[in-house]
């Protein structure tokens, strides 16, 4: 999976400069002036505003609380310390929250990859009565806000005995409409001849899916996987509703509850907690950012 992802990334990189060069040539032909330095200045200033809060968060997490309440604040830590992290991981139960978040996000991601690619394939390439109705139903729920679902879902999950449990956190999100839409759009673009040829050779429908479709879908599966993982990792309302005891909290739930509870003024601790929630995601994003752009472009523009 990792190597494949890297291959795709390098594929994209190699094609990009060519298109850039072409664009540059066109601009030059149009006699347009070179980009003004002030555009860089404005974009750079904007970037400082966008990224600055994360840097402030990071440096704040290494400062004792006393120093964070100082007026005016100093720009850099005067007495850097790891105490905030020590408290998170040794006194509070952040290892558990981290584990819960990872299990929930990973399960939801795997579920969506499997179930959405299966239905996406059926909707794109197989003929069966009711296909249009199913696609319409799935599309129709793309817009349903989470706030509509949480009350009936809670009643359902409680009656199934899944309140305050991993199944309760995971099951409602295993099969999301977004993934079906994404997979269907991608598989529609694959040539029918491949499937017909395999059928003539006597391959079963499952075999065709497993050995022909899935390998061709690797780039879109990577996109769906990353997007689903991040959405689940950051999800808040449902885990807040369904996780009732601390041992089932996910990271965002724990952070939110500490931040409005007794630790509300303990910014050193809260910044360290935010770092733990945010930094893994930022690293994943920075490593795989091309897949995001493709995902947004595919669902947004097509």
């Amino acid at each position: 999976m990792t190597t494949q992802t890297r291959d795709n990334a390098s594929l994209v990189t190699t094609t990009e400069p060519a298109s850039r060069r072409k664009k540059g040539a066109r601009r030059a032909a149009a006699g347009e002036a070179h980009p003004q330095p002030w555009i860089y200045a404005v974009l750079g200033a904007g970037l400082v505003v966008l990224v600055g809060p994360f840097l402030w968060m990071l440096q704040g997490s290494f400062r004792p609380n006393r120093e964070l309440q100082q007026v005016p604040p100093s720009w850099l830590p005067q007495h850097p310390t790891l105490d905030n992290y020590r408290q998170l991981f040794q006194v509070l139960d952040f290892p558990t929250f981290f584990f819960n978040s990872a299990v929930v996000a990973a399960s939801i991601t795997i579920g969506n990859l499997v179930f959405c690619s299966m239905l996406g394939y059926a909707l794109a390439k197989l003929r069966f009565p009711g296909k249009r109705a199913i696609f319409a139903l799935v599309l129709g729920t793309l817009m349903v806000p989470g706030v509509v679902l949480f009350v009936p879902l809670f009643v359902l999950v409680s009656n199934l005995g899944m309140a305050n449990s991993f199944p309760g956190l995971i099951f409602p999100f295993l099969a999301g409409p977004f993934g079906v839409f994404l997979m269907r759009q991608f598989i529609l673009g694959l040539p029918d001849e491949l499937i017909q040829a395999a059928r003539v050779d006597g391959a079963s429908e499952f075999r065709i899916f497993r050995s022909i479709i899935i390998p061709l879908c690797k780039p879109v599966l990577a996109t769906l996987g990353i997007l689903t993982f991040l959405t689940s990792w950051n999800q808040f309302l449902w885990p807040l509703v369904v996780a009732q005891s601390e041992d089932k909290y996910t990271l965002p739930v724990a952070l939110a509850i500490y931040s409005i509870g007794e630790k509300r003024a303990d910014y050193g601790l809260l910044m360290a907690g935010s770092v733990v929630v945010v930094i893994p995601v930022l690293l994943v994003f920075l490593a795989l950012q091309r897949h995001f752009v493709r995902g947004i472009a595919m669902t947004g523009i097509k």
Partner: protein
């Protein structure tokens, strides 16, 4: 004999395609089934159940005892109309959306046009940087922003102090609390629109700009009369997805203000969550469904209004 073979051949062929057809259909259902079971139980069912619940008196005490639940007709909805906190929540949500969506679009458009203006160096770097906040947890971001907006020790007021402005106590001030949340939402969400607008800008033919430039049109004129009209569908899409998201805002007031000061940042989604917390399940469902209806209507209207001008 001759008739049998003559009639038999096409028949078996038809039979064979029929079998293949049926096999394909069967495969289709097998591939669809796992998703559909989960989807019907955990999504379609609850969407319908929420509507049903909103016409009952379901409370947390009735959760394992459905027989105790009574239908109450439109009572929950009529109660909404006379609920002062709900009215405040509707006003706040409207404020958040009507100011937040245009602000986010304008900022994102400015960045996208800047990135598309022929800069080659650092383009990816900028694009990634502007998208960064989108992938982060709103809860974490809200915690960080609360820290930035602290009245005395916060970075924002410190910077304002350098230019001689005595910044307010942002999140505790009735006037400034909501604008603070809106600014944070625009900061966090503009990256998505930057990417979408950048893709939209690729579809604006360079030839049109070249022709207009030869005819003496300035950069602003070309932006207004070429780029903006061609970008209309993309902007519509951006407005719809941003609007849908903003109508449901919840984490920001939950972490930063708890709906205060004096309900000034209470959103509809947050109020529904609070009512759920009090055990008023059917009332919360009625509220959530009202929000859902508004989202559906707003989406429809935005497509209608902005889409027809093409």
């Amino acid at each position: 004999m001759a008739t049998v073979t003559a009639g038999g051949k096409p028949e078996t062929r038809r039979g064979a395609t029929g079998v293949a057809r049926r096999r394909e259909a069967l495969a289709g259902y097998m591939f669809a089934l796992p998703f559909l079971v989960l989807f019907v139980v955990f999504t379609v069912g609850p969407v319908i159940a929420a509507l049903g619940m909103s016409f009952t008196d379901l409370r947390s005490a009735d959760i394992n005892n459905p027989l105790a639940v009574q239908p109450v007709g439109l009572k929950n909805y009529s109660k909404l109309l006379s609920d002062e906190s709900f009215k405040q929540a509707v006003l706040n949500t409207g404020y958040f959306v009507l100011v937040g969506v245009p602000l986010t679009i304008v900022l994102a458009l400015a960045v996208a046009v800047g990135l598309n203006s022929g800069i080659t160096r650092f383009k990816t770097f900028f694009r990634v940087g502007y998208y960064l906040p989108v992938v982060t947890s709103i809860v974490a971001v809200a915690v960080v922003w609360r820290f930035l907006l602290e009245p005395n020790s916060g970075l924002v007021n410190t910077l304002l102090g350098y230019v001689g402005i005595d910044g307010p106590s942002w999140l505790k001030d009735e006037t400034w609390a909501m604008p603070s949340l809106i600014a944070m939402a625009a900061w966090r969400n503009m990256g998505t629109l930057v990417i979408i607008f950048l893709a939209g800008l690729q579809t604006v033919p360079a030839e049109m700009h070249e022709a207009a430039a030869i005819d003496g049109a300035g950069a602003w004129g070309r932006f207004r009369h070429i780029t903006l009209p061609l970008l209309r569908p993309t902007m519509l899409f951006g407005a719809v997805i941003t609007g849908i998201g903003y109508l449901q805002f919840f984490e920001e007031p939950f972490v930063m203000t708890q709906g205060g000061p004096l309900d000034k940042t209470l959103s509809v989604a947050y109020y529904a969550y609070n009512q759920f917390g009090f055990g008023n399940y059917s009332y919360a469902a009625a509220m959530a469904y009202t929000l859902f209806l508004v989202i559906a209507v707003v989406t429809f209207l935005q497509f209608k209004l902005l889409g027809e001008k093409d």
